[in-house]
């Protein structure tokens, strides 16, 4: 299901943009170059970004970096805010489960 708003009576049609590919939980997904991780996931119909310590599903909430509801693991680094982090070509995104794992 695509949730992209392609035509809009006020904002006009979506301008053609470069499409990039990123990985989410092993799935190859497409996104627009201007997407954040959150908007890219939502446009692919994915609302569950991770799970809390007690196992509750988590999604985005404020979309402006203020609430930390949207933490995901990006290329192995945890605690990345999906809503304000631009998606990049080849990026590997995973659901964060509970607290992040340290990397060294």
């Amino acid at each position: 299901m695509s949730r992209r708003v392609v035509a809009h009576p006020i904002l006009g049609d979506l301008i053609e943009e470069e499409v990039i590919e990123f990985e989410f939980e092993g799935l190859k997904l497409k996104a627009l170059k201007s997407d954040t991780i959150a908007s890219a996931l939502i446009s692919n119909g994915i609302d569950i970004f991770g799970f809390s310590e007690s196992g509750k599903p988590k999604g985005f909430f404020c979309a402006i970096g203020k609430c930390s509801s949207c933490l995901v693991v990006v290329d192995g680094v945890p605690n990345v805010r999906a809503c304000i982090t631009p998606v990049r070509d080849g990026m590997r995104v995973e659901r964060q489960k509970g607290k992040g794992k340290p990397v060294w």
Binding site: R3, R4, V5, V6, A7, H8, P9, I10, L11, L14, S34, D35, T36, A38, S39, I42, S43, D47, I48, F49, S52, E53, S54, K56, P57, K58, G59, F60, F61, C62, A63, I64, G65, K66, C67, S68, S69, L71, N79, C83, I84, T85, P86
Partner: protein, 602 residues
């Protein structure tokens, strides 16, 4: 190395942009820092036309106002740093965190204008943690900036201006809005906004609230119920709605962290939106070189935010340059006075009085026009019953047929002799509150302001009344396109006698736990229990339960917790200690600090 600037403006919303313009106009160097993707604050998310008067962009769509102000500022030499958060005002320096380059900058400024706007309030209800429960701002950001819809069927909680506008914007983006629930017994936002969604069939359920989100992994529905006089759900009145997204629009709170870190005294004034910095009529806080403007000072409107920005900006410029700018300042103060005379500014007037800043009220026309004009003539029908600060109808009419009676808050009257039925005002009115009617011998004509995908001429449509109920069938008589303003006029042929009812149409083919602190998963009942155990201070609860110690820094839960304390202890929020606002205002990686050490230029 620490960079020095004469004036630093934090926030590139309407308040910060106008502030920077006022400062830069006088030859002072200004740096504007904003964490958003694009400048404009709330404006880029707003696809609707703004109220006010033409001097402050009435009838212009929010995102266009933002672009315009930004260009003006850039032309005056204002420097912008976007995607950069002011992460703290420390004792020694002000720190900026540049998200994109993952680094920090250190700044010292002679004067600071803080215009950080407001953040959303939230409420708790069962299973509110499920994906699919989103803030109104979040929905707007995704839908209008990133062009993705986070769901198909929406329930909106809150019928203030934001809830009403978001509902309308969702409809424009192609989503369904199943209902708007509002706990109080009246619509808090402007009626003209409410009318826009009502006539499209969105029910506004007053004295209703959300009690539970349904679903396991994400929202699959919502339980709503009626509430009693003290806003408590009434048992037995629950109803289920099949929605996949619940959008919370329950109000805003000023983003005071940075002002508090700068040392400005903070006071709880509910009329202004909660905790606000104390300031004088020149927008100066209790700290000599720190000014504020906009929603941070009081939750209001873009128009007043712009004027406050100018007032603060001219004052700063005056201090830095030694020029006498009193004329500019008093002109802006007059503007503000004009805007704030109306009933919707009542709260703000009352709140500001607590600082000793007074604004007069009244002095505008309150009696609606009775005369409906001569039947048979193509003429306007204005349905704008509230005293709101707005006058594009008056200023746009080429024949001078409309006036609001002097003060901008006055109700519009039509001089039917002068009205030629040209429709200019219909396209301009930000409230989409002006219609055209003409009674003909076999049928009547109703002209409707329309901001959706246009129908075909001659197409048969279902006619809707002010509540979105189908009242009959009609036909598209004519379409007047407005490619610039985007509010088109659709003329409908309607059965005689329905000209006073038809205000919209549809085309035939269309049709558990309550979590307060999301970071730490702390529930309302845990907080209540702790309060019962005797932890009645916010700081005590914070330490005991870890509430607001999570990565969000308490933005989501602080006020909610305070209101629970207040409810349980009977102590008004204004008398509770609000707790400290500690930097950084956004978590900064060590890496960024190290990187900031390497390079110094901005």
């Amino acid at each position: 190395m620490v960079k020095k600037v004469q004036a630093l403006v934090i926030g590139a919303g309407p308040a910060g942009l106008c502030g920077s313009i006022a400062i830069a106009e006088n030859g002072v160097e200004v740096l504007v820092v904003d964490e958003g993707l694009v400048p404009g604050g709330q404006l880029p998310k707003q696809t609707h036309k703004f109220f006010g008067h033409e001097g402050f962009f009435a009838s212009v769509r929010g995102f266009e106002i933002g672009e315009k102000l930004y260009n003006d500022a850039v032309n005056l030499g204002v420097k912008f740093l976007m995607k950069t958060t002011v992460s703290g005002i420390y004792e020694d320096v002000i720190v900026l965190y540049d998200r994109e380059n993952e680094r920090i900058y250190e700044i010292n400024a002679d004067y600071v204008l803080i215009a950080t706007g407001a953040s959303e309030r939230f409420i708790s209800f069962k299973k509110n943690y499920l994906p699919g429960v989103y803030g109104a701002g979040a929905v707007q950001t995704l839908m209008n900036q990133y062009r993705v819809l986070p769901g198909n069927d929406f329930l909106i909680v809150g019928a203030g201006n934001i809830g009403l506008i978001v509902a309308y914007q969702l409809l424009q983006a192609g989503a369904n809005v199943k209902a708007i629930v509002e706990a109080s017994n009246k619509v808090g936002g402007y009626l003209v906004h409410a009318n826009k969604v009502k006539r499209m069939g969105v029910p506004i359920l007053l004295r209703h609230t959300i009690v539970e989100a349904i679903g396991e992994e994400r929202v699959r529905g919502a339980v709503i119920s009626e509430v009693d006089d003290s806003f408590n759900p009434i048992k037995g009145t629950e109803k289920e709605l099949a929605v996949d997204t619940i959008c919370l629009a329950v109000g805003l709170q000023p983003s005071i962290e940075l002002a508090a870190q700068a040392g400005a005294e903070i006071k709880y004034i509910p009329e202004l939106g909660g905790y606000v910095p104390i300031r004088d009529e020149n927008m100066k806080t209790t700290v000599d070189n720190v000014y504020i403007a906009g929603d941070l000072a009081s939750i209001e409107e873009a128009s007043t935010a712009m004027i406050e920005g100018y007032i603060a900006g001219y004052n700063i410029a005056q201090k830095i340059t030694g020029l006498d700018l009193s004329e500019n300042i008093s002109k802006m103060k007059k503007e503000l006075e004009e805007f704030r005379r109306g009933p919707f500014s009542g709260k703000v007037r009352k709140g500001l009085k607590k600082f000793g800043v007074e604004f007069p009220e009244g002095g505008f026309r309150t009696e609606p026009q009775k005369d409906e004009g001569p039947a048979g003539k193509l003429r306007v029908k204005i349905e704008c019953p509230q005293n709101i600060p707005c006058n594009p109808c008056e200023t746009s009419c080429p024949t001078g047929a409309i006036d609001v009676g002097g003060n901008i808050n006055g109700l519009p009257y039509v001089d039917y002799d002068k009205c030629i039925g040209c429709g200019v005002c219909v396209m301009k009115c930000p409230g989409l509150a002006i219609f055209l009617v003409q009674e003909l011998s076999d049928y009547s004509i109703v002209g409707i302001p329309y901001e959706f995908e246009l129908p075909e001429k001659g197409e048969k449509v279902l006619l809707l009344d002010r509540n979105g109920e189908i009242v009959g069938e009609g036909e598209i008589e004519k379409i007047v396109r407005n490619s610039k303003g985007k509010t088109h006029i659709v003329y409908l042929k309607v059965p005689k006698g329905l000209e006073d009812n038809v205000r919209h149409f549809v085309r035939h083919e269309e049709k558990e736990e309550e979590i307060v602190c999301r970071c730490e998963e702390i529930t309302r009942s845990e907080i209540e229990k702790a309060i019962e155990e005797g932890y009645t201070d916010f700081e005590e609860l914070r330490r005991y339960l870890r509430i607001s110690m999570g990565p969000c820094g308490g933005r989501v839960c602080r006020l909610q917790t305070l209101s629970i304390i207040s409810l349980k202890t009977g102590i008004p929020i204004s008398e509770l200690e609000s707790g400290r606002f500690r930097p950084p205002s956004i978590p900064i990686p060590f890496k960024a600090i190290l990187k900031g050490d390497e390079k110094d230029e901005i």
